[in-house]
């Protein structure tokens, strides 16, 4: 009887692998490339112990800890310790995102599209779909863990021994498995794929924030976050394997609960309540602009809340950072020309840039939503009314711009409200607020870029790749000592770092003009192309 529940799991796994024959390798290669590539670069860039030790001093402060995770072995900062400190937490965060997207794709979305029904009508077990998804994820992460481990070890860096390298790989893998399991659970609770993605991302975001708060204030708090568990393995320093084992056990329990819930619920049903909607459209959502906004309302608000919380969290760390620098006299000697305040400011500009990248995600989503509408043949219904092409794409551009103001504003508000409250006098509310808001024209350039691809009707994923590049330049630019030529390719590098640098109107104007130009090109292209379905 039990066996029947899982019948044909193997064949469904093959179906998933076939469907994701490009998607999975791209994710895997991306992680391997960045991880092993960074480690390889460390080897050349920070050859001497002194250079690394200086990096350790620069990065050993509460603000950075909140951002990138706790540093272990800072007093003996080997390449390995540096790798685990600088790269691990952020990589785990992105792996978590990968798990959420992939698991929802193969569970709740599949159910929503009616394909689970097709499969259940065939001789297959009731739990086979969820089980096959989880097994494919486990398999993927096993491959990631092994290849990362072997890859790092094969670089032949002394401090990156086999045990530590395999642990590094295992840390990546287990995080993926953990969030695959939790997403599987949320896919049972929520009734829609959007709901499942939202709840799962909420867990990822909260997990990262709890870790940030815990790492800065009280380590016990970090143990309430799955990121805290995995980082607690102190890769390349103490190499504890037990946190990996513990996370695996918790993951198995969560997966078992998800399977149980799947077995007792009806197809297409969830456990969380849903409510009825309006009988009539509000006056607002009777226009296309209003409708487009209305359709994205929940998404925009959720992102704004998350970004606000992120801003507030990092803002509240500023006080600790300032005190920290004030107490450590040695910092002044190491960084001869900088004092505590300017170190804090430097951190502010880094956080501001990262928050700007984060805020750009919903902005690109807002305009790229148009592609989905087109694929689902909803665009043609609207274009069949008295609606011009210019106005149609224009409305999406407008919604993206509105989104950028809301999300950047939320982040700026969070950072500056919390920051100004804890830092006395040295940094003003407006300085912190502007540090993020100054990125507004740069995000509009991203909107313009997305608009061009929307006008082309192809390669709509490229703005995402570009945003990834922008993020890498911000996050790893200094660390990997990227050349100016490479950095200048990122539009965010052409934004002055407030409050370290001054606000220049001309810079914002130029970026705005470029953005407008790109948007016009997008509109012109869209006017000329076929609308496909």
């Amino acid at each position: 009887m039990v066996k029947q529940q899982f019948l044909q799991t193997g064949r469904l796994m093959r179906l998933i692998l076939r469907r994701d024959r490009l998607r999975l390798p791209i994710w895997l290669i991306g992680f391997l490339f960045v991880t092993i590539g960074t480690a390889a670069l460390f080897k050349g860039l920070y050859a001497s112990h002194e250079e690394r030790q200086q990096m350790a001093t620069t990065f050993d402060n509460p603000a950075v800890t909140a951002l990138i995770g706790p540093g272990y072995g800072l007093d003996h900062y080997t390449e390995g310790a540096m790798m685990a400190h600088q790269m691990l937490a952020m990589t785990l965060l992105i792996i978590a995102v990968m798990s959420v997207l992939l698991v929802v794709r193969h569970t709740r979305s599949e159910e929503e599209e009616g394909r689970v029904e097709l499969i259940r009508a065939l001789p297959s077990g009731r739990l086979s779909n969820l089980t096959s998804t989880l097994l494919v994820m486990a398999l993927t992460y096993l491959v990631l863990a092994l290849t990362t481990g072997i890859g790092l070890y094969s670089l032949g860096i002394e401090s990156m021994d086999l045990n530590g390298s395999m642990l590094y790989g295992a840390a990546l893998g287990i995080t993926g498995i953990f969030f695959a399991a939790t997403t599987a659970l949320f896919a049972q609770l929520a009734q829609t794929s959007k709901g499942a993605v939202g709840l799962s991302f909420l867990l990822v975001g909260l997990g990262y924030l709890i870790r940030a708060i815990g790492d800065v204030s009280n380590e016990t708090i970090s143990w309430f976050s799955p990121f805290g568990w995995v980082l607690g393995s102190e890769v390349y320093v103490n190499d504890y394997w037990w946190p990996i084992g513990m996370t695996l056990i918790v993951s198995l329990i969560v997966a078992a609960v998800a399977l149980y819930l799947n077995s007792i619920r009806d197809l297409d049903a969830g456990f969380l309540p849903t409510r009825g909607g309006r009988r009539h459209a509000t006056a607002w959502s009777r226009s296309h602009l209003g409708l487009t906004l209305r359709l994205q309302k929940t998404s925009i608000i959720s992102w704004a809340v998350v970004i606000f919380i992120f801003g507030a969290t990092y803002g509240s760390v500023l006080g600790d950072t300032e005190t920290y620098f004030a107490e450590i006299e040695i910092m002044k000697e190491v960084m001869a020309n900088q004092d505590g305040i300017s170190m804090t400011l430097q951190f502010v500009t880094m956080v501001a840039a990262i928050m700007a990248v984060l805020s750009t995600i919903p902005v690109i989503m807002a305009i790229n939503k148009m592609k989905k509408e087109e694929k689902r043949n909803r665009t043609e219904q609207i274009l069949a009314t008295a609606m011009s092409r210019y106005k149609f794409l224009g409305n999406y551009i407008l919604v993206a711009i509105i989104t950028s103001i809301i999300t950047l504003g939320a982040g700026a508000l969070g950072l500056s409200a919390a920051g100004a409250a804890v830092v006395e006098g040295d940094i003003t509310f407006m300085e912190l607020f502007n540090a993020i808001m100054i990125f507004l024209p740069a995000t509009w350039v991203m909107v313009g870029l997305a608009a061009v691809f929307m006008g082309l009707g192809r390669m709509n994923g490229l703005p995402w790749l570009y945003l990834g590049f922008v993020f890498i330049v911000i996050y790893l630019g200094d660390l990997l000592q990227m050349s100016d030529a490479v950095r200048n390719l990122s539009v965010f590098e052409h934004v002055n770092s407030i409050p370290l640098e001054d606000f220049e109107l001309i810079q914002s104007l130029v970026l705005s003009v470029i953005a407008a130009g790109l948007m016009l090109v997008g509109l012109a292209l869209y006017r000329r192309r076929d609308v496909t379905g």
Partner: protein
């Protein structure tokens, strides 16, 4: 011998009672038409029969096996086509057909697959993302009829098909019937049901309100008659006559089937010069039940 039997199926979704006791029986070699308005519970019933939803109460068996507990065994011998087929966008139609066949544990009969692809005029090399609704439906139909199933469960299978393909579909159903296979066909296209089905069940608000062979059900309806007579007719003294229209010497009216004899005897005395009679259609039957429902609800 009955292939499918459901007794007193009920289903509650939270507070909503979707099914209030559905009884169905499909016999071997029979094509059973399952009809009812939107939201009456057709798909819910079918999903219970497929073991996808668990009935709140009642019992349903296919091939004598419990539809919930022994779903897997049952599914090896059935084929299902839903009314709204969604497929994996980056697989081709041909790949999907093979996948379904393999899932069913059957050996792929390439000749049969090619024959059906030919008949339904499907291009199996295209990615599913590029298929129109009708073409996605064809993929599901080809997979279903390529399977050597003993029972076909078809939930509005022809939605989106053109009339030519609809005819191909009807041929496939009749072929299956000739081979002694059974079909449960849920449909809105009454002409299709009339052409294909031996037995019909009508569901309304979660209950089967009428079921039986089409011939039996026709007795419950009225025959439409158009008459031209030499002498004036008066129907006042007759019962069972409805909707009388008179134009010159032509009369059009409907007669309850059980009063037909009485009425014919009366009119034959009036010197009939022309007579047309239209048998009751399923549509009449359908409308009679549904109009009643609409009236009852408002």
């Amino acid at each position: 011998m009955s292939v499918l039997k459901a007794e007193g199926l009920t289903k509650k979704f939270g507070k909503v009672q979707a099914l209030k006791g559905v009884n169905l029986e499909v016999n071997e070699g029979e094509v059973f038409g399952f009809i009812g308005p939107n939201g009456a519970g057709k798909s819910t019933t079918i999903r219970i029969l497929l073991g996808i939803l668990q009935a709140t109460s009642g019992k349903a068996t296919i091939f004598g096996r419990d539809v919930w507990k022994e779903a897997v065994e049952i599914h090896k011998r059935i084929a299902y086509v839903p009314g709204d087929v969604n497929l994996w966008s980056n697989l081709t139609g041909g790949e999907v057909i093979d996948f379904f066949t393999e899932m069913r544990g059957a050996k792929l009969d390439l000749d049969r697959k090619e024959e059906l692809i030919e008949r339904f005029q499907l291009d199996p090399t295209k990615k599913c993302a590029t298929y129109s609704k009708g073409n996605r439906q064809k993929v599901a139909l080809v997979s279903a009829f390529a399977a050597d199933a003993d029972l076909y469960i078809l939930d509005e299978p022809t939605s989106g098909l053109d009339p030519l393909m609809e005819r191909v579909f009807q041929e496939c159903v009749l072929e299956a019937k000739r081979e002694g296979k059974s079909v449960l066909l849920s449909s809105h296209i009454l002409s299709e049901v009339e052409k294909l089905c031996d037995t019909v069940g009508i569901i309304r608000q979660g209950e089967i309100i009428e079921s039986g062979s089409l011939n039996d059900l026709r007795h419950l309806t009225r025959t439409t008659i158009v008459l031209e007579t030499k002498n004036e007719l008066s129907f006042d003294h007759l019962s069972g006559i409805h909707d009388v229209h008179k134009e010159g010497s032509t009369y059009q009216f409907q007669v309850d089937t059980e009063k037909l004899d009485e009425v014919m005897q009366y009119v034959s005395q009036a010197g009939v010069t022309k007579i047309e009679s239209a048998p009751p259609t399923l549509e009449d039957l359908f409308m009679r039940h549904y109009e009643g429902e609409a009236g009852g609800e408002k």
